[in-house]
Amino acid sequence: METDGEIDAPESATVFEDIPGQYTHIYKYLERTGPFTDPSFEPGNERKEFLHTCKVLVIGAGGLGCELLKDLALMGFKDIHVIDMDTIDISNLNRQFLFRPADVGRPKATVAAEFVMKRIPGVKVTPFYGRIQDKDESYYSEFSIIICGLDSVEARRWMNATVVGMLDEEDPSTLKPMIDGGTEGFKGQSRVILPTMTACYECSLDMHTQRQAFPICTIANTPRLPEHCIEWASVIMWPKEWPDTKLDGDDPEHIQWLFNMASKRAAEFKIQGVTWSLTQGVVKNIIPAIASTNAVVAASCALEAFKLATSCAPTMSNYMMYVGDDGIYTYTFELQRKPECPVCGSGLQKVQVRRDYTLEDFIDTLKERKEIQLKRPSLMAPGRSLYMTHPPDLEERTRDNLVKRMDELVEEGNEITVTDPGLPITLRLLIEWE
């Protein structure tokens, strides 16, 4: 390791700073090499130029997104894009610091972009108010790094599959690092995904605990908790009473109705604790969120983006968890790739099936598997559809198969292809009898 402290001669002019001296802090790292830098690291203007001109994409302009835009802009990224489909809600203001009460109702991406550009000289932030699915590969391939501040597993899976899918092994420029952050209360995590070089999001899907769903029979017959009463109101009573109105967790009248129904049921069963706030929390599946945790996780993501863009220090390998509720606990470790990963690996997984299971039983077992997490899967055997959720006429034609035994439908060694409308992924399952 070199320790001779080789220092470049001072750069002659400030070509990249809108205000001379603006980048004093980060330039310390770009004008000098160090013992931990990548061997290819050459201090100087080339590094600065790449950092300042490369295009980076921030996905989500919420709690993490606001922090990410600030962090990236202050770390020297000057061409930042941001996608978000949401508008600003009053409950965002306890942490999404680029928004003010007067902004409530406006698109997050637009307001966040305006704010950062106003505050930091020389930075361009380009907002897109829409869904990630509105954009295709031609859009995503323009970016050097993609940083996700998302709040749903589905969106991350979609983004991960898209980024990994863009990789052409012949063309290194198609390898897009994806950095992903997430938080809940005092806890969070950040990770770096280098498609096919590190584990991808899909490789480690089983790490993410799914929301605990209450069994329908508990909700219907033996409620014990206030949550059971609220679920009864929203899952059973709402569709019955308002078949044509979609339940909106942000509509106070909807929540009020559910709260009233849940309270009645709770009183009937002598269950305590149904409140308005709990009702909204259960219906919207609200996850507690605070500014400080978002700051920690977003900063970690931005730090890795800076290191990736400049090679001034090694990139994190490859996952850091942060737990702040009992002392401070961090753990950085390397998540391993899964060879059979449906996104970045071979995709062919062996599954053991009981011969006497019906197709419906089999689909239920697939839905329960944490490493797959399917919602409405369609299944194809070689040459025929087993069960298709879409379109409706095909669903009708394949519905009869649901009650048939597996050994009537397929043979051992058959490959079943599984697709799900929510995911850009095809699973390949190799059938083995249990």
Binding site: T3, G5, P10, E17, P20, G21, Q22, Y23, T24, H25, Y27, K28, Y29, E31, R32, T33, G34, P35, F36, K70, L74, M75, I90, S91, L93, N94, R95, F97, R119, I120, P121, F186, T222, R224, P252, F259, S263, K270, T275, W276, S277, I286, A291, S292, N294, A295, V296, A299, S300, A302, L303, F306, P314, M316, M320, G324, D326, G327, I328, T332
Partner: protein
């Protein structure tokens, strides 16, 4: 509770779900001092202003420099030359109109010697002893613009005027220590950073680490009556599936005792017995659940260790003693709880009143929940009586002749009831919170920085132990300490000038060696590449590190202010080169 939340509740909804109205009230009555409004300090305050502290004050003699534009989000180009404290305070306030913000443009060092009482006006003090990277090569010709700095000695980019020396830090900590005001020391330096918490005594009633309290070993009379009212053999198949596991386990214990009067069951033996009691494990999920919980019924009940430490704390013994200073309400309740457990609880703490969900029919579950709830309420009533009697006893004691030093403490935040205000009072709300969380209560006591700075305080083996692990983040702690000594000796930070990296590596190495020698840590070293990397950064404050360390520090502040969740003991160090963190008790 039965109406839609008001505007404020909506705004704070996502955090109220963590620390509730009690934690929020504590935040909303807290006054925070930040020493140095650099990037790290501004990030910390950002994360405290957003959730709604009452007020903050920034103490910072520096003007806004061009380099602040590339690290601190709360300045913009037109602010260059203006007092940084003022600019940052104003911009932070824009984020939350309910928060008041003030600024003082004086040198913390001067203020500490001329007006130390200034520092006693706050509930929490955050010290961001800042770094000054000096001019980058490209900016060396740009002097700060403007002349509105409040300090007579206009800082230059190399100035370290906002800094406190090691001795001054120790003096500040002494000052706060006596009033039990927490001091959070934060540092972002290049790719490294640290957060250190210091407080004489930090009491946590609600750390949010609940464990179920089911009383399976020794059911109290009402629970026993419920168990007796169930005859498993007489129930039909459907009714059997509705029996809560608590009842099943009590039944299993009775059965075991009848068959093995002298030997208590092991968890696995009881598990087996429970499974054997089921008629059909496929149907009777509650029996399966009971078998999984069997370990809870085995062994002798013991008060959890941290709670036991609180009850056995000398502060508990002092409550009500003639001549002792008036106790904090926390200790009065702790004493009442201890006496309750010893005298009437048969070793048990007051019941928290909650019960986890379990597979059961509604009627039996609600009956069970009600029984626990009533047990809680009767325990609570007993604690209330005990507290009242202790309080009246204390208030009847002759007053200590010297006025308690706590009289001049800052106005109490909600989480921190006034320690002495004429007569002792304990809020009923505090007694309730205590009883709901009695098995979780925690008291943390910290060491003073000066004990470590005096070198004798560090156990000789400790740094060596941390350093013996390759690439330990603790290396950065040693280096940060060495950097401060470097600064005290050379009046600048290592590597701030482009042509002095090589010599500075040697000079910093020397400081590291002396530091380790002072600690008595012979035979360990800091690898050269870490020294080199520290000099390389030239005291830069990278925004990503400032935001990360600032975020962690602000979480600690929230825990210290609300008295909920558990703050770190005592130092967190982050290595941004490898993105690895570590916690060290110094």
């Amino acid at each position: 509770m039965s109406h839609p939340p008001d505007k404020k509740q909506q705004r704070y909804d996502r955090q109220l779900r963590l620390w509730g109205a009690h934690g929020q009230a504590a935040l909303e009555s807290s006054h925070v001092l930040l020493i140095n409004g650099n990037a790290t300090g501004a990030e910390i305050l950002k994360n405290l202003v957003l959730p709604g502290i009452a007020s903050f004050t920034i103490l910072d003699p520096s003007p806004v420099l061009p380099s602040d534009l590339g690290s601190n989000f709360f300045v913009d180009p037109e602010d260059i030359g203006k007092p940084r404290a003022k600019v940052v305070a104003e911009r932070l306030r824009e984020m939350n109109e309910d928060v008041a913000g003030e600024w003082v443009g004086e040198s913390p060092s001067t203020l500490l010697s001329t007006n130390p009482s200034f520092f006693l006006r706050f509930h929490l003090v955050v010290l961001c002893n800042h770094n000054s990277p000096g001019p980058s090569s490209s900016a060396s010709s740009t002097p700060p613009v403007g002349s509105s700095t409040p300090s007579p000695s206009t800082p230059t980019p190399q100035s370290t005027s906002g800094l406190l020396s090691e001795k001054e830090v120790a003096a500040l900590e002494d000052l706060l220590w006596e009033r039990n005001v927490p001091l959070v020391m934060v540092r972002s330096y290049g790719l490294a950073g640290m957060v250190r918490v210091g407080r004489k005594e930090h009491r946590v009633i609600d750390p949010h680490t609940p464990t179920p309290d089911l009383r399976l070993q020794t059911p109290f009379p009402a629970l026993q009556a419920l168990v007796d009212s169930v005859n498993l053999d007489a129930l039909d198949d459907h009714a059997r599936t509705g029996v809560p596991f608590v009842v099943i386990l009590c039944k299993a214990m009775e059965k075991w005792k009848k068959e093995n009067p002298t030997t208590p069951p092991t968890a696995s033996a009881l598990k087996k017995l429970v499974l054997a009691m089921s008629k059909d494990l496929n149907r009777e999920e509650n029996f399966v659940e009971a078998s999984g919980q069997a370990y809870r019924a085995c062994g002798k009940y013991e008060i959890p260790r941290t709670a036991r430490n609180v009850l056995e704390d000398p502060e508990c013994d002092k409550v009500g003693v003639v001549g002792a200073p008036p106790p904090h309400p926390f200790w009065i309740v702790a004493r009442a709880v201890r006496d309750f457990a010893r005298e009437e609880g048969a070793g048990y703490l007051p019941h928290p009143g909650s019960v986890p969900d379990m597979k059961a029919d509604t009627g039996k579950y609600v009956e069970l929940a009600t029984i626990y709830r009533q047990k809680h309420l009767s325990d609570l009533a007993s604690i209330r009586t005990r507290v009242a009697s202790v309080v009246s006893q204390i208030n009847s004691l002759p007053r200590s002749t010297s006025t308690s030093s706590i009289d001049s403490a800052p106005p109490p935040a909600v989480g921190e009831t006034r320690e002495w205000a004429g007569s002792v009072q304990v809020k009923d709300e505090e007694i309730e919170r205590w009883c709901k969380n009695a098995s979780q209560v925690v008291v943390k006591r910290y060491k003073r920085v000066k004990d470590e700075l005096g070198e004798a305080g560090v156990e000789a083996g400790e740094p060596a132990r941390h350093l013996s692990q390759p690439d330990s983040p603790f290396l950065h702690y040693v280096l940060l300490r060495a950097v401060d000594r470097f600064r005290d000796v050379h009046h600048r930070f290592p590597g701030v000038l482009a042509d002095e990296v090589e010599p500075d590596i040697r000079l910093l190495k020397k400081q590291v060696q002396e530091l380790l020698k002072g600690w008595g840590s012979q035979g360990v070293t800091v690898p050269d590449e870490y020294v080199h990397e520290t000099v390389r950064c030239g005291a830069a404050e990278l925004h990503a590190i400032a935001a990360l360390i600032g975020g962690i520090a602000s979480q600690e502040c929230i825990k210290l202010i609300t008295g909920q969740y558990v703050p770190v003991v005592d130092t967190f160090v982050f290595d941004g080169i490898k993105s690895v963190g570590g916690v060290y008790e110094l």
